[in-house]
Symmetry: C2
Subunit: 349 residues, 2 copies
C-alpha cells in the first residue's frame, strides 16, 4: 500500500485536473490510496464522478488555496497550517502519507516543504530534479531551479542525491553522473564546478560512476544518467530545451502544411508524428522531484492536464516504492562518515 | 570594396573548407577581396581550382598553424607574429583588412585577438555573440562563451554591444534587448542580473529598447532581438538548444522510417523536411562575432563545411558594411559621457 497526499487546489486548473489525474493514476496503480486536500465545494462534485477514486481516498476540506502567483513568503504567512498545500505536505510529516504531489506554485511549495519537512541532515539546500527525455531514454537533471548558485560541496550533494534518485527511478545499480560545464577539458569552466569535479573524484563514491564534465548538447544525447548543475543554469537549460522542441514542432507543422503533397505525406506519416509527439511530450516527463527534504515531494507542472498530473503521481509512486529517501540518507551517511575528521579527545572520552 | 582576411589553417578541415568557402562567398559578394594566410603547400593547389578567388585575393605563406586543441597560452607563445591565425588578425590591426574570419580554436582566437587588437575603450571584457534561429527569424545571444561570469556593468556593456550588432545585422533602428533570467518577475534571479536590469532601465538608452527579463523558452520564440547573459549560461543554453534540435531530428528520422506508410509519407513530404532542415541548419547561422575589440573578428564553427564557412564570411561582410564597430564605439561613448561625474577642478582648470 502506497499512500499519496494531493494538493487538489494547486496548478492552473486545480481540482479539475488533479482529481481526474488521480483517477488515472489509480487505474495504473491499484495499490495506491490518496489523501486529498482541497476546497469542498469544488472537489466534491468532481470526486462524485470517480467512484473508485472516492473509495480509495480520504478528503479533507481546506479553507485556503495558495494562488499561482503568490510570493513564497506571502504564501507561508497566509497558508501555513490551513492551506491545501501546507496540509498535504504535513500529511507526509505526520506519516499519514508516503509522498505529496502538488501542481501549485513552485516557490511556495518549496518554501512550505522546507519549513514543514526540514532539510535532511548534512544537506544545506534542497534541489529540484527534473526528468529529461533523451535519445537513450531519460536522464535526471538537477538543480532546475530550487536555488540560484551552488558551491562545490552543494554540487557534490546534488550528485549524491541525483544518483540516489536515478537508482530509485531507473532501477540501475551505479548511475553515471556528469557535471554540466562549458567544455569537457579539466581546465575550463566555473571554479565551483571544477572544485566539485575534484571533490567527487576524490570521494570515489561507490553509489555513482562519476563521468566528468558534460556539455549542454550531451544532455539530449543521454551521455549520463544524472546531470548536475546549479539552479540558475539548470532552469535556463531546461526552458531553452523546451523552447527549442516547441520551435521545431512549430516549424515542422508549418512546413508540412505548405503543399498538397506534404499534407498527404503528413497524413500517411501521422503515426510517426504521433510517436514523436509522445516521446517529446512534456506531460510524460512531468514531475520535478524535491530532493534533500525529510519527505518525498513531487512538483507537477502547473499547466498540465490530467494525463500529466497522473505522470507526476507515477513518479511519486516510484520514489516511494524504491525508497528514494532511504537511499539518499544512506549515501549521505556513507559519504560524511568517511570525510569526518578523526574523533577528538572529547568524543573519544 | 570590403577586405576580409582569412585564417586558412583554422577549423577541423583547414584550407579544404576555407578556400571553397571563400569562393562561395565571393560569388555572393563580388565587391569582396581576401587576404589569405596559410601554409603554401596546402593552400596553393586549392587556390588553383578557384581562379576567380585567386584573382581577388592575396596569399601569405605562414609557417605556423594553431591546432584545434592548443591551449590559448600555448598558442600565443608558439604562434604570435608567425601563425596564420595571428597574421590574419594583425591584418585588421594594420588596416589592410576590414574584418577577419577564422574557424580556428575559440580560446586561442580570442586570446590572440585580445592581445593583438585590444579591447575598446570602456570595455573590460569582450563577448562572443551568436546568431540564434527563432520562430520570428533570428536573434542575437551573447555572451556564448568568451568568459565565465559577468557583473552588472559587463552585462550592460553586452546589452549595448549586442544592440549595436542587431542594428548592423538586422538593419533595425532600436532592437529589443532582454536579460536572460529564471523568471520574468523582477524579484527573481541572480543579483548581477537584477542589478543589470536596474542599470539598463535607469540609463534609458536611446539605441535599444529594454524589454526586461526573458526565460530560456523565450529565446526560440524570438521574444527579443538580443538576449544578454554571461558566458557560462549562454554557452550551456546554446549547446542545449543544438542538442535538442539534433535529438528531435533524430527521433523524427527514426519515427519516419518505422512503417511503409510513414516512409511513403516521408517521400511525399520531403520538400517540407528539406525546408525544416534548412531553417534549423547550424551552418546557416554559423559565425560567432567577437564584440568589444578594436576590429571585427568572426569565429566560424570549427566543424563546418564550405557553405557554413561562407555564411561566416557573410556575417563579417554585413558587420563591415554596416559599420558594427563604429556603432558600438558611438553607443559606448554616449552612455559613458552621460554617466561621467562632473569635471573636477583639475580638468576644469
Amino acid at each position: 500500500m502506497i499512500r499519496i497526499s494531493l494538493d487538489a487546489m494547486g496548478g492552473d486548473f486545480g481540482p479539475s485536473v488533479v482529481i481526474p489525474g488521480a483517477a488515472k493514476a489509480l487505474e495504473r496503480h491499484p495499490d495506491v490510496t490518496f489523501i486529498i486536500f482541497g476546497q469542498k465545494a469544488e472537489c466534491e462534485p468532481l470526486l462524485a464522478r470517480y467512484p473508485k477514486l472516492r473509495e480509495k481516498s480520504v478528503f479533507h476540506d481546506c479553507e485556503v488555496a495558495i494562488t499561482m502567483d503568490e510570493k513564497p513568503s506571502a504564501a507561508l504567512r497566509r497558508g501555513r497550517y490551513t492551506s491545501s498545500m501546507w496540509r498535504s505536505i504535513e500529511a507526509v510529516k505526520t506519516g499519514e502519507a508516503d509522498a505529496v504531489v502538488s501542481a501549485g506554485n513552485t516557490g511556495a511549495l518549496m518554501a512550505m516543504a522546507k519549513f514543514c519537512l526540514r532539510t535532511m541532515a548534512n544537506i544545506e539546500r534542497p534541489a529540484i530534479a527534473g526528468i529529461w527525455p533523451t535519445l537513450r531514454g531519460e536522464s535526471i537533471v538537477l538543480d532546475i531551479g530550487a536555488t540560484i548558485g551552488a558551491d562545490a560541496q552543494q554540487l557534490l550533494d546534488f550528485a549524491l542525491m541525483g544518483g540516489a534518485m536515478a537508482r530509485a527511478l531507473f532501477e540501475i545499480d551505479r548511475p553515471t553522473v556528469g557535471l554540466l560545464n562549458v567544455g569537457v577539458e579539466e581546465v575550463k569552466g566555473q571554479e565551483e564546478v571544477k572544485e566539485a569535479g575534484r571533490m567527487i573524484r576524490e570521494a570515489s563514491l561507490s553509489t555513482i560512476a562519476y563521468h566528468g564534465f558534460v556539455e549542454g548538447n550531451d544532455i539530449g544525447k543521454g551521455v549520463v544518467d544524472v546531470v548536475v548543475t546549479e539552479g540558475f543554469t539548470g532552469n535556463i537549460a531546461l526552458k531553452t530545451a523546451e523552447g527549442t522542441a516547441r520551435q521545431m514542432a512549430e516549424l515542422l507543422r508549418s512546413a508540412m502544411s505548405r503543399t498538397l503533397l506534404s499534407k498527404i505525406g503528413y497524413l500517411l506519416a501521422k503515426s510517426a508524428f504521433d510517436l514523436l509527439r509522445e516521446k517529446m511530450d512534456p506531460r510524460k516527463v512531468n514531475g520535478g522531484v524535491f530532493l534533500g527534504l525529510n519527505g518525498i515531494v513531487i512538483k507537477s507542472h502547473g499547466g498540465t492536464d490530467a494525463e500529466g498530473y497522473a505522470s507526476a503521481i507515477d513518479v511519486g509512486y516510484d520514489m516511494v516504492r524504491n525508497a528514494l529517501n532511504d537511499k539518499i540518507a544512506q549515501d549521505l551517511k556513507t559519504y560524511h562518515a568517511r570525510r569526518l575528521p578523526p574523533a577528538g579527545p572529547e568524543e573519544a572520552a
